[in-house]
Symmetry: C2
Subunit: 951 residues, 2 copies
């Protein structure tokens, strides 16, 4: 079949873009449990990172129009910036000799010039477009505006990166009162010609003329009502022709001028409208949210129309060159015979499988493409192979078969599940298509996260009560409790519990430990609940705003339903869903692909990866995930348990230093035992222990009954306890009496902690035979003088312990850099500090002047207005906070060239932040145990990219 | 009388240093009402800044010992660093030919070498000291260790800066069992010789041998008891001789070796002991507190002894070359005939006036020095004149008259009251002794503060209940009230009230305005109460810890006394005293000297001085004090009054934007009226208006009864109000939803404020004929995007107002730089911001990670350990916060060369911080109205010093 015959076929006004979107959505539904519209979905099914080359600057020249089709092209895949993603890939496919409907791309440069020049097209464009139209016409044997044999084209946007559904498209352009007759004659189907015309008028009026499409839909409804019709299929050619007249009248009435009959006016109107759609509110918002520069602009693709609904030898479909769900190397996709995209959108017909193998596997009894159109199928399979070899990645393609002839409409890197991504990268490496390093770069580290946590069975039914923030991934089911004590009690009875709190505080830690999952009504992705839960690897849904928790009544209300203590619920920390009852879950499997990826990552990365851990359980988990040490062992969590809490409170209410020392002496053996266990588990790996950090009031009770009870237990007057509480109350505890400030006021605390550390390290070294080099970390230092004073006490304690035990221990004393002033004064602080660990949580709070716990009330406004694109507590603010990290690193190393630098804020597990850490030369990152594999991969990728940049 | 005869006189072991200290203390008491031990005293009576030259590096050489006396000297006043203050001035006086007992100075370099070299004296020192001793001996006609005619010397410390009472001194050195007999023979008074000897043994044993002086005092007591004596005067020569034996025995018993008879051993022991006293705990603490480097070390002065108690032709005294209280150009001082310093210390005898004029003025009937020793007096007067001409400043001198012969023992710049400082600087300038610029540099700007506020009559009796922090200077008396409403009510009845609160909050503002003075039990020098009070010019005592306030009982307890509502009290914000009843006050007078100083200051300063003011009263006060504009007009204080509060609360509880707009429309005319008044008062001077800054919860009631009442007044459900309160509650409000974040969330607020500003500016311009150029300031910006979004709204409002009024107004939109991130991103922010105003209060809080309101609980520990020397909220932390100010200034001006830079934090009124502002090139400082004169002088001094540094 020749190109010449193409335009004579019956056409329907498919909006291909939305058709394929719907198509894809169906496919994806089978691969993931992510609910639509959920923020998590983005990371679960995201673009694989491709290594397409950058534009060749010479190639951009002065040329405005790039042609493709008929076995050749002016452009190629490397020209994405100039031609947009779609245009570049169409050119690439044409160059490869694949069957692409001929067309041309108006470059993004033209778009930029158009806006720069007061919405005027640049000189010379008209002539180039004319030539290119002739090229298409010659290729398909038709002519634009020819009354006998009219060329119909689609006009589509195509930006550098995909902005799905954001921008405008016009199809079937080239129809007017005269060409429609030519189309009717050529197609021998008058009804279809007029149906196509009325669709074109509607779409053009909407996109180009700015008329509401409802006006046209109303007119159609009225016509059907008047004529007692129900379905569009009941309308005859004459009916459509009459409607076309009505449509044209609508345009005349609304705009005071007729619908343009000049097909060149149509074309320029459409090109201009596509450009203008770059600035629609939704597009602007989308770009802000996705950090796409405003000045990129879009290209415009003008292409000959092809149709998949010309009969039983025609079809339309979408496919992945490998299975996007499993990664299996097998063509995977769906198609519909004699169909247009609207059929898919309407959901009237169910697509069929492309390959016979897939059909059989699914037990579908409708025939596969392989069976019904074996030639087209074979060609498609060959093309897929060719595309994979060319792009060196799994492709997501769109195709149309018109009268048995296959046409390729789109190719792009296919989205895939993490499992598939791992398998595809491993296979492509094994097949020699990509290098080991490229394989590493193909996996989004963030994707790994979903492998590490249990997931809800995607096929299970579920009654979603409400949705909060996906604060810590994984799913959990259990009995609902509202207090940490209840959580512990039920857990001790062997029950699985979900702890629901309005918000959590350090007092709740034991309950969070006991719970299988945590749910809060308040707090963001980086609230206390979220941070602690991620650290523990517990699923967590935070900030479920619609949730109303009634502690007194032991119940909560959500989505109009009230649940009581003991009711079973399920939370999905990967989607934020809160679900009534139990939902079956799937346990994660870490296969050989995962192991191989991690091995490759470990080979190439420069930075070490440590974990933030303070319990034996977490430490073990960290080692299982490959952590090379502990970068942050908080010691305060150790004070929130049973007897320790009592001793701690005793210390806080003590009248003087000697009273405090008595209480601390009770804590010493327990603390030593904690460290001993950790040292043994870590077996010689480095372990950074942070001295007591939170303000003392966090250790005291705050509710009346607790206060009374605590006073009794401590044997102090209730009034005295209340006085102490009042004394410790602070306006801004974040900036208050905590961190090393406690150590300055109560030097007996760091002395006790240092003693516990050194005694435990000595004993652990003797037990395991592996020497322990503890790193003692002083928090919240802002002045060199603070650090020096505390270090002197630590050193003195080390000497004492060495004298007592007869063992001289190696150790280091360093500081967290979490106060802007400390970053600025790093040169001075590094004189005595042996390591810096960037506490980027607090450093962000202070540098940004932003309280993590309070920012939820307004960061939403910031995000929605595009003032910020990333939550600075999730991804390190490289411009602001990052500069301080860099300053501190440079100044610190100017004093001490071997200064050890690490990061222990939440950012240590965030891939973008890890890349930043690589760029400033940190020695290690430290993150939650469950983020360790993510960090290993991200560190490897950062190292690879850094080498690429250098070479 | 020859020098030769000096050593033959009877000597007593005066500790001159403490003697003069006591002497001075008595003098000062007559000049100031400052209570001893109060921190304010330091600034009231401080060293005048001198312009003595720096050491000539060549002069330091290798020489260890510098001689002086006999009309010549090796050193001079410019060698303070090498010879210490005392040594340099003794050398200077000797060079001038003044009668100085001959002696020599061992340099500070020797001290440094001594510590560097393991407490060994450097090679060659011994020989130099021997030679210098010979020089003294020759000059006085005696010989060190001569049994017939022994030379006695004093050994005194002398650091670069005075460290009063911190270091050790040994007098009468050179006595042993043999020389004491020589002294007895030469003096013809055996009793005195042995009295001197026993005093020497005691002092030497204490200072050099480390024996407790109580051991010797006990022995003396025992001796007197045994012999039924009461007074020392009852002891005969033989008694003293016996005690000398007992003293030597004590040394033998305690140390196992005899008291050193070798007078050279004595000398080296004393020199070493003076060096060692550099490192006593009290000296180390003193240096930390006064920011004196550890490595400066002290010099040692060895000088022939002279005595004022050799009969009626001898005397001892202290004088100022001008009146230190009034500045009057008249010799002013006291003396005692035939006296030793101990007489003064014991307070047994009252000193007499030196000049006849002073005696007559005081109505004292004991004769003046002018009368009893006219020759010595005449010589003293000449010497004073000579010293003033030489030092070009008023001097504080010590002298001794021995048998009619005058000896000068010390000269140094004299401390003086502010009034005196002004007069002396003006007079010295008029006399041509100093230049206008030098006159400016002679006044400590901080001193001016005491001129501007009412003071308590220093002669009045007062019952001090307790002492808090001197948070805002001046004194006030009034009826005690405990709530802001009571304050307002009583004030409206025409009463003067003192508002006492545990601590204050913005809700108390109206009460603080109504009160004559403010007293708080909690909070530091920079607490809310302190800052607001200083801004208002209200006296304030903050953080009176012993004060227990009982709101319910309408009473407070302090110093064991309970005061009730309505009781009259007085507070002194300059000393921190809280006094029962009324104390008469003195109103400040700003004389011609003050005016002249200010005129000179205005001539030389580069930076403008503006005031922080938001009420007409403050604005007027600011102009009276010479402010050149308003640098910070807070708009929130305007919302804390009557109807406005109600409208504000209505806005806060409104359900949506339209509800908020209704409430804001009520505020608009009031806010416009506020601005109109300010614009008229400032008559064309620049006025920077900050948009709403505090978190909204500050505007809501927090106590149960208030909440109920407010809900009723607003016509909303109490539960709804409580819900809103709970929503607005923040963990760290400092880092929360405030500043420009409110403007982003509720753009209708800045729109209303901008409208009020522009409408008022237009009207004021028309009324006064002076065009107003309002500067609209956006607070708490951290991101360029925030600023841009708000500026767009302000610009749009300006256009609207211009359209409506037909007047196109000039205005600027800028931002506060108070978040570290903003400083770092200044380059980007300056693209659209037309000015930066450094909000160094918050910038310090965030850069330091330090909550101003909470830091009181631990900053004391920091101060006492010397970790910080200045409260960073009082004096800008140049190293940390200052670097960010500098970064922001440089980056901002890199984008916009004419970017206007100012400071509006509390630091804008602190002289040290103002000097910093000059160094980074700010255009203006802005401070409380009452600090404006201080800032004008400080800015002038900073400009002068900057010029000196450059040239």
């Amino acid at each position: 079949m020749s190109l010449q015959s193409l335009t004579s076929f019956f056409a329907s006004a498919l909006e291909l873009q939305s058709r394929w979107l719907a198509f894809h959505a169906r496919l994806l539904e089978t691969m993931t449990s992510a609910s639509p519209g959920n923020p998590r979905q983005k990371t679960q099914m995201m673009d694989t990172i491709t290594t397409e080359g950058q534009d060749n600057p010479q190639a951009t020249g002065r040329k405005h129009v790039y042609r493709f089709g008929a076995g050749a092209a002016d452009g190629g895949a490397g020209m994405r910036n100039l031609l947009g993603g779609k245009g570049a890939n169409l050119a690439e496919m044409a160059s490869l000799g694949l069957p692409v409907p001929p067309g041309f791309t108006v470059t993004t440069d033209v778009c930029t010039a158009y806006f720069a020049n007061d919405h005027q097209f640049p000189a010379g464009l008209k002539e180039e477009v004319e030539k290119a139209l002739n090229f298409i016409g010659e290729a398909v044997g038709a002519r634009f505006g020819d009354n006998q044999n009219p060329l119909l084209v689609s006009v589509r946007s195509g930006a550098r990166v995909s902005m799905p559904g954001m921008m405008d498209t016009v199809l079937n352009l080239g129809l007017n009162d005269e060409t429609v007759e030519g189309l009717a004659r050529r197609s021998d189907d008058r009804r279809f010609a007029f149906d196509s015309y009325r669709r074109f008028i509607q779409m053009y009026s909407d996109v180009v003329l700015g008329l509401d499409h409802h006006l046209f839909e109303q007119a159609l409804e009225q016509y059907k009502n008047l004529n007692a019709m129900e379905l569009d299929t009941e309308l005859s050619a004459e009916d459509w022709a009459q409607l076309v007249e009505r449509y044209k009248q609508i345009v005349q009435d609304k705009l005071g001028k007729p619908f343009p009959q000049d097909i060149h006016e149509q074309l320029w109107g459409a090109i201009g409208a596509v450009f203008e759609s770059w600035h629609t509110a939704r597009a602007v918002t989308y770009r802000r949210l996705h950090n796409i520069p405003e000045d990129w602009g879009t290209a415009v693709n003008v292409q000959a129309m092809v149709f998949g609904n010309t009969g039983d030898r025609s079809a339309t479909g979408v496919a992945f060159t490998r299975n996007p769900s499993t990664g299996e190397n097998a063509l995977y996709g769906e198609f519909l015979v004699n169909a247009q995209g609207e059929d898919v959108v309407a959901g009237i017909r169910t697509p069929q499988y492309i390959s016979e193998a897939a059909r059989q596997a699914a037990g579908d009894d409708r025939p596969s493409l392989e069976t019904v159109m074996p030639e087209a199928f074979a060609e498609l399979r060959d093309i897929c192979l060719k595309l994979e070899r060319n792009y060196r990645d799994m492709q997501d393609i769109e195709f149309t078969i018109q009268d048995g002839k296959l046409w390729m409409l789109q190719t792009r890197a296919g989205k895939r599940t993490t499992k598939a991504a791992l398998k595809i990268a491993t296979d492509l490496t094994a097949e020699g298509l990509i290098t080991k390093e490229e394989g590493l770069l193909r996996i989004d580290p963030e994707q790994l996260d979903q492998l590490l946590h249990p997931m809800l069975d995607p096929n299970a039914k579920k009654e979603v009560l409400t949705t909060g923030l996906p604060a810590s991934p994984g799913a959990a089911t259990g009995e609902l409790v509202f207090t940490p004590d209840e959580a512990e009690t039920l857990r001790n009875l062997g029950k699985s519990v979900i702890l629901a709190r309005i918000e959590t505080s350090p007092e709740d830690i034991h309950g969070m430990h006991a719970a299988a999952g945590i749910l809060t009504a308040r707090g963001g992705m980086t609230s206390h609940a979220a941070v602690v839960a991620r650290g523990m690897g517990r699923p967590c849904v935070s900030g479920a705003k619609d949730l109303s928790i009634d502690y007194e009544g032991h119940k909560m209300t959500a989505g109009g339903r009230t649940l009581h203590r003991g009711d079973v619920i399920t939370i999905d920390g990967s989607t934020g869903e809160v679900i009534a009852g139990e939902v079956p879950t799937l346990q994660p499997e870490l296969g050989a692909d995962f192991q191989q990826l991690m091995d490759h990552a470990d080979e190439v990365r420069r930075m070490k990866v440590r974990a933030n851990a303070e319990t034996p359980r977490d430490a073990k988990q960290a080692r299982e995930f490959g952590a090379e040490g502990i970068g942050l062992c908080r010691t305060e969590h150790m004070f929130f348990e049973g007897e320790r809490t009592t001793a701690m409170r005793e210390m806080i209410v003590a009248d003087d230093e000697s009273g405090r020392r008595v209480a601390l002496a009770k804590i010493l053996p327990m603390q030593r035992q904690d460290f001993l266990e950790l040292f043994e588990i870590m077996a010689g790996l480095p372990l950074t222990i942070r001295l007591l950090d939170p303000p003392l009031h966090e250790f005291l009770p705050h509710e009346d009954s607790d206060i009374r009870e605590t006073a009794q237990r401590l044997g102090v007057d209730e009034a005295k306890l209340r006085t102490r509480l009042a004394q410790l109350k602070e306006f801004n505890p974040m900036l208050g009496h905590r961190g090393c400030r406690l150590a300055i006021s109560y030097p007996e605390i760091p002395e006790m902690q240092a003693r516990a550390i050194f005694e435990a390290a000595t004993e652990a070294g003797q037990r395991t035979g592996a020497p322990v080099v503890p790193e003692v970390m002083v928090p919240l230092v802002g002045l060199a003088g603070e650090f020096n004073e505390i270090k002197a006490r630590i050193d003195a304690t080390a000497e004492e312990v060495a004298r007592e035990t007869g063992v001289k221990l190696e150790y280091q004393v360093g500081t967290m850099i979490e106060i802007p002033r400390a970053a600025l004064r790093a040169k001075e602080i590094a004189k005595s500090a042996e390591f810096f660990s960037f506490g980027t949580n607090d450093l962000t709070q202070m540098t940004y002047g932003l309280s993590r716990d309070d920012s939820g009330s307004f960061l939403g406004d910031y995000m929605s207005r595009g003032i910020i694109t990333n939550d600075p507590f999730v991804t390190l603010d490289a411009d602001g906070v990052g500069e301080l990290v860099q300053i501190a690193s440079e100044r610190g190393r100017a004093t001490r060239t071997d200064l050890k630098l690490g990061i222990c804020g939440e950012h240590g597990g965030d891939p973008a932040s890890i890349a930043f850490c690589e760029s400033v030369g940190l020695d290690y990152v430290s993150c939650s145990p469950y983020r360790v594999p993510v960090a290993r991969l991200a560190a490897a990728q950062a190292a690879l990219r850094a080498r690429q940049t250098k070479s």
